[in-house]
Assembly symmetry: C2
Homo-oligomer: 391 residues x 2
């Protein structure tokens, strides 16, 4: 049943091997000062930084550097970025990197014009307010896929003090990037571990939205199409990371997995992300691998509460033949097929590989938000059980 | 293989049973004078007109009436609408109806500010220019689904003088409706014939984009999801037109079938639309039924040129079991399954039912544009053959 919703996604996506050619022209729509956001410097080694600088120069921009964004951007770094933006009165924040850089750029963008006495972390990631001040435009050059941050209004920030990694999905259309440049070849040099983490992040974005509801929703049919495509493309990409068809399909699929479309008209779950983000806050492990470590224990626990959908997942996504089997058997075979695929592409299957130990479980459980939109809201005991089974 | 492309679809979609509640607020973003575009007056009988007027009044707008838009809007009507817009210096064109009304509204919107010596038909539907003048904003309240016009920049106009029905898909983001209100219950009162025509129009929008290319494209996977959903929902809707789940899924599916998404990164065909539009220009028959009358002869003719895709269509959309069959058999069974579905829901299967006679075929063939993006570009003889088989 499609309920009431508003879909509005104004991001302009420029996609393909030649997409960087359009960057200079795109930049001309914005004012003269650009805050250039990036991570640890890999873009300097692989030449992407030079291409971006060339486009900024061609567009006549003044560049304010803001590098060193970490994989899980912190409150401290966020406050640094806000100070840079305020000092330089920037007109555009251009993030060059993956979801961390773009999430961080959005976090800065909504905070620059907050009154000086308002704390950004408290305002947006504790109280979940919408921006009432002007939002600085954000643009993106994507070098790593998975988070979908290039076409959504989500921003995940980590507070080590609070031991919380919190995602705020803003409702305001102003928070979406104005444009994003997606060049699949930019993802070729990413280490395999990061590529696989991104792929599982994409898959989990889809399943978080898919495993809810009981009707034949358009969103679910689109989700199944994306999952089939992702499974095929990921198998090709792990064999040959420079398979353009595979990498381009993964990149495009990632965008649509989390740009609000497949959540329209239905409730969504997001419990795997809550568990994974809690692990991330305690270990600083790679996001996608925190999800892969907990996903199967979680889905096997909730399967009985959404049995028909898990059976549909098995046949529609994994091609399980339901003939002569009970719904339970079909559903279980679907999760077994997902497990086999996860092992095949190289997902981390155990939280212990990420540094999680038995004595950390209570603390991680304390950091885990309990969601209500899926087939079953976890009890505290069940959170511990899932975490325990993931060790 | 995903080539280079730009995706930018800024239309805001307000969806659901309660979506009209948002109209007055939405209207406040635009200037005081609104050109109200609608068709033959059914919206006055079913109460939608009164709801729209109430929202316009609540937003304090001056309303300029522009009713009487015909199912295939003509050049003469277009010129009338442009004159109305110019005389009243309108700030927004609000189309209340189906694709014809919205297409017409876009046609007026791109033409209002053309220099007086430029002919709109020649500029946009013969020379296919992009607007260089300011485009008047368009909003929509959708009462009939199928064309996807609520979230794309297409506009189909008919010239009886030229015996041509021509669709211009504008590239400019300015031509997309700024907003569209989609209330599935508004489609309940539509006669069954029109509902079914809309459903086949949706299906054909998808197949026109699906039957091209040879790779496992994200777009094709999304298309398969949309088709499976449409088939299921249409079967429910013909049994009970007031099945909200079915009508809402059909409405949402229609939007995504033709809002540019599933065409990204691949070539598309559109030959069925060229054949159907030629029939439309000669008979004024309902658009969707002109497509259903020619689709099967056309697809059976081109099937050998895209055999693998037709076989994939059979298994992925229609659940044809490929075991022990040749690719040709699987592909043919897919088209047979589509034919059975078309008959089940009540599509027109013969152009003769639309008033086409043997002696009209050469004239219709003269009006048929030949497309190059599908698996096979038709020869003149093949156009005649397809038309003949559709009789």
């Amino acid at each position: 049943m499609l309920g009431n919703f508003t879909y509005h996604n104004p991001t302009k996506l420029i996609f393909g091997e030649d997409s960087m050619n359009a960057l200079a022209e795109e930049l001309k729509s914005y004012g003269p000062t650009v805050q250039l956001v990036y991570g640890g410097g890999s873009i300097k080694r692989n030449g992407i930084y030079d291409q971006v600088i060339a486009a900024l120069e061609a567009a006549g921009k003044t560049v304010v550097e803001d590098g060193g964004v970490m994989p899980n951007p912190t409150v401290e770094k966020l406050n640094e970025g806000i100070a840079i933006a305020r000092e330089n009165n920037v007109d555009l924040i251009l993030a060059v990197g993956g979801g961390s850089c773009i999430d961080y750029a959005k976090g800065v963008a909504v905070s620059v014009n907050l009154p000086a006495d308002r704390d950004p972390w408290q305002t947006y990631w504790v109280d979940f307010e919408e921006p009432t001040c002007p939002v600085v435009p954000v643009g993106a050059v994507l070098t790593m896929v998975g988070t979908g941050s290039e076409m959504n209004a989500g921003s995940v920030i980590t507070s080590h003090e609070a031991k919380m990694k919190v995602g705020h999905v803003f409702a305001s259309a102003d928070v979406f990037p104005k444009f994003a440049v997606l060049n699949p070849t930019f993802t070729y040099t990413l280490p395999q571990y990061q590529m696989v983490a991104g792929i599982f992040d994409i898959m989990n974005h889809i399943t978080e939205q898919y495993f809810s509801g009981t009707d034949d929703n358009t969103s679910d049919c689109l989700a199944e199409g994306l999952m089939r495509n992702l499974v095929a493309a990921s198998r090709a990409a792990v064999k040959n990371p420079e398979d353009y068809e595979a990498r381009s399909n993964i990149m495009w699929c990632a965008t649509w997995a989390l740009n609000t479309l497949i959540a329209m008209g239905k409730s969504t779950d997001w419990e795997v992300h809550m568990l994974g983000q809690a692990i991330g806050a305690h270990t600083d492990a790679t996001h996608g691998m925190t999800l892969s470590a907990v996903a199967l224990p979680y889905y096997r626990l909730i399967m009985p509460y959404g049995l028909a959908k898990f059976a549909r997942f098995a046949t529609a996504v994994w091609g399980v033949d339901p003939d002569g089997k009970t719904e339970e058997q079909v559903a279980a075979e679907g999760l077994d097929a997902m497990e086999a695929w996860m092992r095949e592409i190289g997902c981390v299957m155990k939280a212990s590989e990420l540094g999680v130990t038995e004595d950390m479980l209570e603390g991680i459980a304390d950091s885990t938000l309990i969601m209500q939109g899926g087939y079953h809201a976890l009890t505290r005991d069940e959170v511990i059980k899932v975490l325990h089974q993931s060790l």
